[in-house]
């Protein structure tokens, strides 16, 4: 992955959206920074019995209990144990802090709305309903996550 701030075309700051790009399995994904509260390495979660397979477990985030979701399971990819590069992206959805466990955080991107194309019905074999759109940057295709859709999927 070679996407950097520099590689994105420079435009006046007003029209830009900031995105964080990351990997889940083989996929390049991005999420608008306005949803993101923080990114940390706090990966020790407590598993929850009887919970859906998409829930990795619970995390103590400075006194708040945060559910951490398994993006592999949501996107129906084979499970993968956390590595040294794994990160927890804490997002805020409907007023609740939720953790998304990703394999690697790549970079932040500044993109304009017209760079995002509507998603095809499936992106690299994954249901297009999870994505707001697709960002084509030089050699890479990055799928922009629809956070609410992702988190409401059981």
């Amino acid at each position: 992955m070679t996407v950097t701030l520099e590689s994105a075309p420079r435009r006046p700051a007003g029209g830009y959206m900031q995105m964080v790009a990351f990997n889940v399995g083989p996929m390049h994904l991005a999420l608008s920074i306005q949803h993101i509260q923080e990114i940390n390495r706090n990966l020790d979660v407590v598993p929850v019995p009887h919970a859906a397979p998409t829930v990795r477990g619970l995390l103590n985030l400075r006194g708040k209990i945060v559910s951490v979701m398994d993006l592999h399971a949501i996107l129906k990819m084979p499970p993968q144990p956390p590595t040294r590069e794994s990160r927890n992206i804490i997002v805020s959805s409907q007023g609740e802090a939720i953790g998304l466990c990703v394999d690697r955080v790549l970079d932040t991107l500044s993109v304009t709305a017209d760079q995002i194309e509507p998603p095809p019905s499936n992106v690299q074999g994954i249901d297009g309903g999870f994505f707001e759109g697709v960002l084509s940057l030089e050699e890479d295709v990055i799928a922009v996550i629809d956070l609410e859709q992702l988190l409401t999927t059981p």
Partner: protein, 914 residues
């Protein structure tokens, strides 16, 4: 109107108005009551306060274009003005009108956006009439009352203090809604003070300025401590680090305390509504009751304040309705005419105590004992053994109400059991003390806050869990090597022998859906069992290890895990790790469900050949000689004891066992049946059952299993006294025993006598006539059970009419009066179920007095509840002959002519259960 709408859009102003108006109205109720109490001796200062409150509401409402509120406030203001100028005397009638208008005003403010569409003309007319009285000073009270009866279009007469309005609202919604104005019926009154969701103001907490200042101070201290700490760390100064940590520790504790104080509110906010409740209720019941409130400044967590309102209201209503007697009765009992209800809040041992005491009639423990027995909750002996104190505590049992009859005020819907559950949900306890004729005192103990609960931390599947202490009865450790002796394996389930009772065990890792790694019973390294309780059920929870007890702070769970079964929440332990809080009720429910599922699955492969919808019963399988298998229905077994062969005494040809300070007659199969003798072993089991004339035990050397078997027994081939029939299980013939016949065959003298004495009551006495034999209609689709139950009943001297389903029975009942005295029905039947049959009988004009006894192989709480909902008078488990017969006798007694038209006992059960 457009102008109004424009104003309504100005949301912020409106919200502010609502908050302010609520503040004004908050005290109005008690102030009006004081005004009423003062009567002609008008306290102008107090009246002025009320007047000003209403006046400012009126002003703001007119400014905001809230025409309806404005009009109502204006009319109230006029009346208050006349009172202020002493042109009107605040009689209870007039104050009543003002109180109801204030209620209306409050509910208008609650639903402020719709307030302009509400109709308050009834209030306006009545208020104007009072005004007119003041101007034309000659008028008297009577004219108002008359006028009001005419003008009020609803059947409710607002003015008369003993109007039915209160009792009606109370009956429908027994929770503190007395204050809801009955005139407002069509708009579904939003209960003024106690609803905590609708009002925008309720989401706020009022905090004393001093507390906020303290918080600011502490926050400053915290910043200071942080700076010290950072400095110490950067310098690497160990001493300074210690100092900084010490400072931080202290500031944090103080801060925590101060923040907790912001959540604290005086109980006055709840107690404040009771003067009105007491006033209205006592008036409607024609009783004189004085409410004494002590300690209303005691502070409790906001969440608790919100939750205790309803239970307390119920208790107070109970005290007035059942406790305090009418003035005449009180005078006869040498008491003052007016009763006292005392509400007392105080701190005790780090908890909050609230006592509700009355000096009324008290609770009669004997009545409760009788009722418990008649409901089949316990045997007569057990009831007699209860101390008076424990008997009085029976009022907390579901289904028992102390009211002799259901009244409008209490005994309906919400029972004391609900009060108890609600308070226990808050982590509190309730107890009751009562002296007959002197009064009752209910003591509630509540924690100061709900946010912190004491819990036990346990370890299972390499994870820590918290179990609320509330659910824990005791901890049991089975030492290494003792497991095989103390834990009995009955089929798939394990049972712990604990002080003569058998306690079903649940493995926590299993319950949490995780396949067990090692079986603690196998490696025998000692087992930790936590005895937990949920409702009346007790279970033993097997955990890997027990840590410490800790006070934990309950943290809410996110939406993805909120719905997970078995979890009540999560907490953060001292070391920063997350621990899940277990929901014991849920775990127990889950085990029950799974148990049923297993049974269903097990049943499927066995019964594939037989009819799919066949009734099944649980039987205990055991052998005498290893080659011969016997079965006993589980419902008949009281318990199973393990004994040594040398504990058995032989006296006069009878084998008996000394135990629990008495003797237990023993039966051996070979002496009463055609059975091979048991092999000589030291370890024996005694299956203890109740014969109706005391307990007896059946000796068996080996327990095989507990199985659910279809009710398809061969009642011919192997029939002999003591054996009802036989069935084939896993290619083996099993004989099903009739324990009563067995006992009779073994001890003919002893049991015959008791049968004869019991048989004497099975006639119905009709005045002036000779006793006739009671006829019982029996509806039962299983031929086996039909024959069994019919035989029970006939042997007791009843006439039995048996039918194969509900429809046949109903057709027969409808044809004519057949002189049926009692209906005994199965629940699950083709064409018409027992419950349908029961509903039909209970809604039939002539037949509705006919008692109905339902019997079933299933008797979960839900089933029983459904039964009572359908109007069943009693509910019994099939095959339990003694219970069934005593219930039949009891029901026949209740319908003896003197009682037949009175309220059926079920009436009450249903009310309380529903």
């Amino acid at each position: 109107m457009t102008e109004n709408l424009a104003c309504l859009e100005d949301d912020e102003l409106i919200q502010e108005f609502a908050v302010e108006a609520n503040e004004h109205l908050a005290d109005i109720e008690s102030q009006l009551l004081s005004i009423e109490a003062a009567g002609a001796n008008i306290d102008s200062h107090l009246v002025n306060q009320v007047f000003r409150a209403i006046h400012s509401i009126k002003g703001a409402a007119s400014f905001l274009g809230l025409a309806t509120i404005n009009k109502l406030a204006h009319a109230m203001e006029n009346v208050l003005n006349h009172i202020r100028t002493r042109e009107l005397i605040p009689t209870s009638t007039r104050v009543n009108v003002l109180l109801k208008s204030a209620d209306m005003l409050q509910s208008l403010i609650h639903r402020i956006a719709e307030s302009n569409e509400q109709d308050v003309s009834e209030f306006l007319i009545v208020l104007d009439q009072i005004n007119d009285e003041a101007s034309g000073s000659a008028s008297d009270e009577a004219t108002i009352s008359d006028a009001m009866t005419v003008t009020a279009t609803s059947p409710v007469t607002t003015a008369s203090p003993d109007s039915t309005a209160f009792s009606e609202t109370a009956a429908v919604e027994p929770v503190a809604q007395v204050s809801a104005p009955p005139l407002l019926a069509p708009t579904k009154p939003a209960a003024s003070t106690n609803s905590n969701s609708s009002a925008p103001a309720d989401a706020n907490i009022r905090v004393a300025v001093s507390v906020v200042e303290q918080l600011m101070n502490l926050a400053g201290e915290l910043v200071l401590s942080r700076n010290q700490l950072l400095q110490a760390v950067s310098r690497g100064d160990r001493q300074a680090l210690n100092n900084a940590a010490g400072g931080l520790d202290q500031v944090t504790s103080e801060l925590q305390e101060a923040i907790m104080r912001t959540r604290m509110q005086p109980v006055r906010t709840v107690f404040g509504r009771f003067p009105r409740v007491v006033r209205d209720l006592s008036a409607s019941l024609g009783k004189h009751v004085e409410l004494i409130v002590v300690g209303d400044d005691v502070e409790v967590d906001k969440t608790i304040i919100e939750a205790i309102g309803d239970p307390l209201t119920h208790l107070i209503r109970n005290s007035i309705d059942h406790g305090i007697e009418t003035p005449t009765v009180r005078e006869a009992a040498d008491k003052s005419r007016s009763g006292k209800v005392r509400l007392h809040a105080y701190h005790q041992a780090g908890k909050v105590r609230i006592d509700v005491e009355d000096d009324g009639a008290g609770i009669n423990p004997d009545k409760l004992r009788q009722k418990a027995v008649s409901m089949g909750l316990m045997s007569t002996e057990r009831a007699q053994q209860l101390s008076d104190r424990d008997a009085i505590r029976l009022i907390f049992h579901p289904g028992l109400s102390t009211a002799a009859a259901v009244t409008d005020v209490s005994g309906r819907g919400v029972g004391m059991d609900v009060v108890k559950t609600n308070i226990e949900k808050l982590g509190g306890t309730v107890d009751v003390e009562s002296v007959l004729g002197r009064g009752t005192s209910i003591r509630i103990t509540l924690p100061l806050t709900l946010a912190i609960i004491p819990s036990l931390i346990v370890h299972s599947r390499n994870q820590r869990f918290a179990i609320p202490q509330l659910n824990i009865v005791e901890l049991v450790r089975v030492r290494p090597g003792e497991a095989s002796r103390r834990i009995v394996q009955i089929h798939q389930s394990q049972v712990l022998r604990l002080r003569n009772t058998l306690l079903p065990l649940i493995r926590l890792d299993n319950a949490l859906g995780c396949s067990p790694t090692t079986d603690p019973l196998k490696n025998d390294a000692g087992i930790n069992i936590i005895v937990v309780e949920s409702g009346t059920m007790r279970y033993g929870l097997i955990v890997d290890s027990v840590h410490d007890s800790e006070e934990i702070v309950v943290k809410p769970l996110g939406r993805h895990v909120k719905e997970c079964s078995c979890l009540a929440g999560a907490t953060i332990l001292g070391d920063g790790c997350v621990a899940l809080i277990l929901d014991i009720d849920d775990i127990i429910r889950g085990v029950d469900l799974r148990g049923d599922l297993e049974k269903d699955l097990g049943a499927k492969d066995e019964s594939a050949s037989t009819a799919p919808k066949q009734e099944r019963i649980n039987v205990l399988l055991f052998t005498n000689d290893p080659a011969e298998m016997f079965a006993v229905p589980m419902t008949l077994i009281c318990r199973i004891e393990r004994i040594q062969a040398d504990q058995i005494d032989s006296l006069g040809g009878q084998e008996i066992l000394q135990y629990c300070g008495g003797t237990l007659p023993l039966l051996t199969l070979e002496s009463t049946l055609k059975a091979r003798p048991r092999p000589k072993t030291d370890n024996l089991y005694v299956v203890v059952f109740n014969t109706g004339a005391g307990e007896a035990g059946l000796i068996t050397p080996h327990l095989e299993d507990i199985q659910e078997v279809p009710v398809a027994f061969d009642t011919v081939t192997l029939r002999e006294p003591g054996v009802t029939g036989s069935f084939v299980l896993a290619k083996k013939t099993v004989r099903l025993l009739d324990l009563f016949e067995l006992a009779q065959a073994a001890y003919p003298e002893r049991y015959k006598r008791s049968m004869a004495s019991a048989g004497g009551t099975n006639h119905i006495e009709t005045p002036g006539q000779r006793p006739v034999r009671a006829t019982v209609l029996l509806a039962e689709d299983s031929a086996f059970f039909q024959r069994q139950v019919a035989a029970f009943l006939e042997s007791e001297g009843f006439q039995v009419k048996a039918f194969n389903d509900g429809q046949q029975a109903w057709d027969y009942l409808q044809e004519d009066e057949h002189g049926i005295n009692l209906v005994v029905t199965d629940i699950e039947m083709p064409f018409m179920t027992g419950l349908q049959l029961c509903s039909k009988i209970k809604s039939h004009p002539q037949l509705k007095c006919l008692p109905v006894l339902a019997m079933s192989t299933l008797a979960g709480d839900d089933d029983i509840r459904r039964g009572y909902d359908a109007g069943v008078d009693d509910y019994q488990v099939k095959m339990d002959r003694e219970q069934l017969l005593s219930s039949v006798r009891r029901l026949l007694e209740t319908i003896s002519p003197a009682h037949s038209t009175n309220s059926r006992p079920s009436e009450k059960h249903r009310e309380v259960l529903s």
